[in-house]
């Protein structure tokens, strides 16, 4: 019976890994990258950026990437790709890219992990991760106590 009490005391930290990949054909984009409102990167993104940290899976996780400084050109591209997000080794991006929100000046679709326009791309897991996953992988009812 201690099993359950001990489990309740655990913080459930797990790795969260995010990879951002820039495309710099027409200049280097500026990236502001925040996790749970805390800045992790703020500057020109000229090469791949990797975020790797242990976060509690019991708390919401908020990921936000703002791209600015893109000059639009039909022949050369500048962009940032959210190449991958994994939580506890479970792929979130690109698998759940339809859950992303992308407010951008070209009104490109939110269902993407490709930032081709200046704007803010965000992904919010607004409940404990495994509860979020339950809802988003069609696991059916979730009873509330």
């Amino acid at each position: 019976m201690n099993y359950f009490s001990n489990l309740l005391d655990s913080k459930l930290l797990a790795p969260v890994a995010i990879k951002l990949t820039p495309i710099i054909g027409n200049g280097v984009p500026h990236a502001k990258f925040r996790i749970n409102e805390i800045a992790q990167f703020d500057g020109p993104l000229s090469s791949e950026f990797v975020y790797d940290a242990q976060l509690s899976l019991l708390s919401p996780i908020s990921i936000e990437l703002e791209m600015t400084n893109k000059a639009y050109c039909s022949e050369k591209e500048t962009a940032i790709i959210v190449s991958s997000i994994s939580v506890d080794s479970i792929e979130i991006i690109p698998k759940f890219q339809h859950c992303a929100n992308y407010v951008n000046e070209k009104k490109f679709s939110s269902s993407t992990h490709y930032l081709g326009a200046n704007g803010i791309w965000s992904f919010k897991i607004d409940m404990p991760f495994y509860i979020w996953l339950h809802h988003h992988t069609d696991q059916g009812w979730l009873l509330a106590p």
Binding site: M1, Y3, F4, L7, L57, H134, L142, L143, P145
Partner: protein
């Protein structure tokens, strides 16, 4: 000791009432004769809420020991053969995935509730959200694997044939006092999500409609998903109207095969009538959001060789098929009564059928068997669980003589013959005394 292997959260949100009016703690309880059964209070003795909050305390404490609980044997057996068990389904309802047990349990909003109830000797202040309501044995079918407990038609036949002469007690729901008491308990439950009724044949049991109508009138129905099984011999437009008052309907259509063997096994139904009504239910479900129709089979020694037609129908129509628990009683009806040499062809045919379907990349067991999007995968997995069962279950062919003795008795009344439906078993049955 293994919490992961044996813990089930069901007693924290589920309870039921048996035909006799005795409460019970789980719809998947194993009624295997080898297992000592509980004797719980009845609806005349305490309220359903009291039973759940207080009497079930010892069940909750038994679940957290990490040891197998004998009455949960049915679920353990299902898991052994790769079949989704009641335990897995109930775990999923609180967000727990058995493939990632500890982390998903830690994440579940129910963990603090479980811990708190353990500290309080299993007592719980919540009310059930999931009910199993047994309405008695009033039934117009006499399925060959059924018992007097679940079919009044079988009860009458067994008395006539002196197979079983005890009179079944009057179901609790034949008393208006009991029905009203139960409805009062339902109204006192906060947040009922699911109400599942079992017969007999619920559609012809007066208390079924009475309870449903009352739930519609008092407004509770709009937040309840209603579940029940039907033998697909009755079509009742008034009932359909009442059902539309519920938030959702989960309907299990009981059939064993699309082949003539169904007429023998689910006597005295006709496969023509049954398939017509099945199609009616499928059509009506398409017009109603939050209605889910599934095929529910109970494979037995007599029907296991004829289930592929039904699996194929389900696969093509997208109507999920789910076999009930591996049948426990009567023991001579179990598919494991088939000798090994008779299983070989069935195993081969089932495997070939499974392999004829597109391979899915993700082989994770589909536990949410109510997801239309996963119906085809779930159908294949259910079929595979029967392959596993036939390959691995022990040979119980020593029960054949008991099976044949039973068949002879009921056929003397029904004037039919199993050999008209399973001529390929003639040698087998004759060697057992047919």
């Amino acid at each position: 000791m293994s919490i992961e292997k044996y813990f089930c959260p069901s007693p924290w949100f589920h309870a039921g009432i048996k035909t006799s009016g005795e409460y019970h703690f789980c719809r998947w309880v194993s009624y295997n004769k080898d297992i000592v059964q509980r004797k719980d209070p009845t609806i005349n003795e305490i309220s359903a809420i009291d039973f759940f909050q207080t009497t079930m305390a010892e069940i909750r404490l038994a679940q957290v020991t990490g040891n197998p609980f004998p009455l949960c044997k049915g679920c353990y057996e299902m898991e052994e053969h790769g079949k989704v068990s009641g335990r897995q389904k109930q775990l999923l309802k609180i967000g727990v995935d058995t493939n990632n047990f500890e982390k998903t349990l830690r994440s579940s909003p129910w963990l603090p509730i479980i811990v708190n109830s353990i500290k309080n000797n299993g007592l719980l202040g919540l009310t059930p959200q999931d009910w199993q309501v047994d309405l008695g044995n009033f039934c117009n079918s006499a399925c060959v694997f059924c018992t007097p407990k679940f079919s009044s038609k079988i009860a009458t036949e067994f008395k006539k044939l002196a197979i079983a002469t005890e009179t079944q007690p009057a179901p609790w729901c034949t008393s208006d006092v009991n029905v009203n008491s139960f409805i009062t308990s339902l109204k006192a439950c906060k947040n009922i999500q699911y109400l599942h009724f079992l017969g007999g044949e619920p559609t012809i049991i007066p208390a079924f409609k009475k309870i449903l109508k009352e739930l519609v009138v008092c407004g509770l129905a709009t937040s309840i998903t209603l579940g029940f099984a039907t033998n697909c011999t009755i079509w009742d437009e008034e009932l359909n109207t009442i059902l539309k008052g519920f938030k959702g309907v989960h309907l299990n259509l009981s059939i064993e095969s699309l082949e003539p063997i169904n007429d023998y096994v689910r006597y005295p139904s006709s496969i023509v009538t049954v398939t017509d009504i099945i199609n009616k239910w499928i059509n009506i479900s398409k017009d109603n959001k939050d209605w889910l129709v599934q095929i529910r089979i109970t494979p037995t020694v007599l029907s296991i060789s004829k289930i592929i037609s039904l699996f194929e129908f389900s696969y093509q129509s997208g109507v999920a098929i789910e076999a009930s628990n591996f049948i426990q009683e009567p023991a001579f009806m179990r598919p494991s009564v088939l000798p090994t040499e008779y299983r070989i062809k069935i195993i081969k045919d089932l495997q070939e059928w499974i392999e004829s379907k597109p391979v899915t990349e993700d082989n994770t067991l589909v536990v949410n068997t109510r997801s239309p999007a996963q119906a085809q995968t779930q159908i294949l997995q259910d079929a595979a669980s029967y392959v596993n069962y036939l390959v691995n279950s022990r040979d119980e062919s020593f029960r054949l003589t008991e099976l044949v003795a039973y068949i002879k008795k009921i056929e003397s009344n029904r004037k039919n013959s199993i050999l008209d439906y399973l001529p390929e078993y003639e040698l087998l049955f004759k060697s057992a005394g047919l």
